[in-house]
């Protein structure tokens, strides 16, 4: 699953430079480009859409404030994802009781049977991902839902590439085990 079809680093760098020159529209373009992966990552870390919106807002506001200290040798989106993780973890630490309503379930319309069955399975998968230990969840989210490479994961998670690989292996294995125990073994 790829959120960012084509990441153009030089385009990001140009937008950052324009922001630093006071062009707010350039920052709006960066928000446009990265709001979806940031929101999705936050959603899967904090567990509900409303809080994921708050986290996304905080991430972009802090990114804007810290833009003068941004080091262009790193890719802009890696830098933003790192903030997403930090903000999401901060949010989890200060978590208040909340009813978890996945963004995909925010509807009152009774769905057709097939759609309903698929949605149930998807919810079980989401639920299983949400139950993984945080370290495992993060590698799964950024590898599978944000489509980062091992190298990018290494930077974003601040762990060696070798650890990324072994952690991803363990996370997938545990996830598969959880799903198997719930009877989810096929997806057609």
């Amino acid at each position: 699953m790829v959120f960012i079809a084509e990441t153009d680093d030089s385009r990001d760098r140009d937008q950052v430079a324009a922001c630093l020159n006071g062009n707010l529209n350039a920052f709006a373009t960066l928000v446009d480009r990265y709001q979806k992966p940031v929101f999705n990552a936050a959603l899967r870390i904090v567990g509900n859409a409303e809080d994921a919106c708050d986290v996304s807002q905080t991430v972009f506001t802090k990114a804007f404030e810290k833009l003068p200290s941004y080091d262009p040798k790193y890719r802009f989106f890696s830098w933003v994802y790192r903030m997403t993780i930090n903000e999401s973890i901060n949010w989890l630490k200060n978590r208040k009781p909340h009813s978890d309503i996945p963004a995909t379930m925010a509807t009152d319309d009774p769905p057709p049977d097939e759609q309903y069955r698929r949605r149930q399975v998807n919810d079980m998968i989401d639920d299983a991902v949400g139950k993984l230990p945080l370290d495992y969840r993060l590698v799964i989210i950024f590898r599978h839902f944000v489509d980062l490479t091992y190298r990018e994961l290494s930077y974003v998670l601040d762990i060696p590439e070798k650890t990324v690989k072994s952690r991803l292996f363990s996370a997938r294995r545990l996830l598969g085990e959880m799903l198997r125990k719930q009877g989810i073994v096929g997806y057609d």
Binding site: N25, Q35, C53, N122, S166, F169, R173, L179
Partner: protein, 265 residues
Amino acid sequence: MIDDKHLQLMNRVVEGTGSDDDRAALEKLLAENQEARSCYEDLKIAMGALERVRPAETPSDLKGSIMRAVRRSRRVQTAAVPRWTLTDSLRRLFSLSHGLSFVAGAAAALLAFSLWIGQPTSGPSLDPSHLTGTIMLDGISEGLAALDRDTFNLDGVVGSIETRVTGSVLLIDIEARSTAPNEIILEFEPEQFRYAGFRQLGHPESRVTARDGQVTMNLAADHHYTLFFDVLVDAPTEAVSCRVCSEGLIYEEQLETRPRPEHKK
């Protein structure tokens, strides 16, 4: 027993990056090792599940709420940055205490001069209640829908800004009264809006310049404008921002450029 080599091998194959040799090695491993077989089954289940998950759609106003928060933050940052003034600079310079007493007399004279030129210009008292904002336009006033109106009253500049729409034309009314020259900058998305011109009431020394994505009004003092924009897309986003500057940024806001729900009646 699964070692690191097996782990790497299984990772490569489940991710689809393994070679033919990898696949052959994995088959051999699975045939010989029960733990590896069970592990690989779980990996395949996980991979199949993860491929099936679709990204959640972002809430429609997420970008708007992010940009509003960013603008608030920018305003606070701007307010926190001390403005450069000649008097401050001179004070800093003399606080270095070079110990050259023979320049003290000249310094005092220069400081006095700079303090004198730093005094605010006296001007008319500004009363925001006198603002009208809207320029009534002959012929099309009846079809206009009001979208947004905001006022500012900071650093000797009072004003109002108002957006209205009729069909595919967006009108932005700007009125400002000031004791000093000021500048108003509108930035917009050129893919969504095209600047089409202006109508002016008031001060004839004001000047409007337009280039891609930006219209700037350099104002001698008081002014009152309506700017016209062609709306190029069906549902423009909140994509026009307004900055008012007078010796620095004093006001910034994103303007509503499409009808709010209560205006859709």
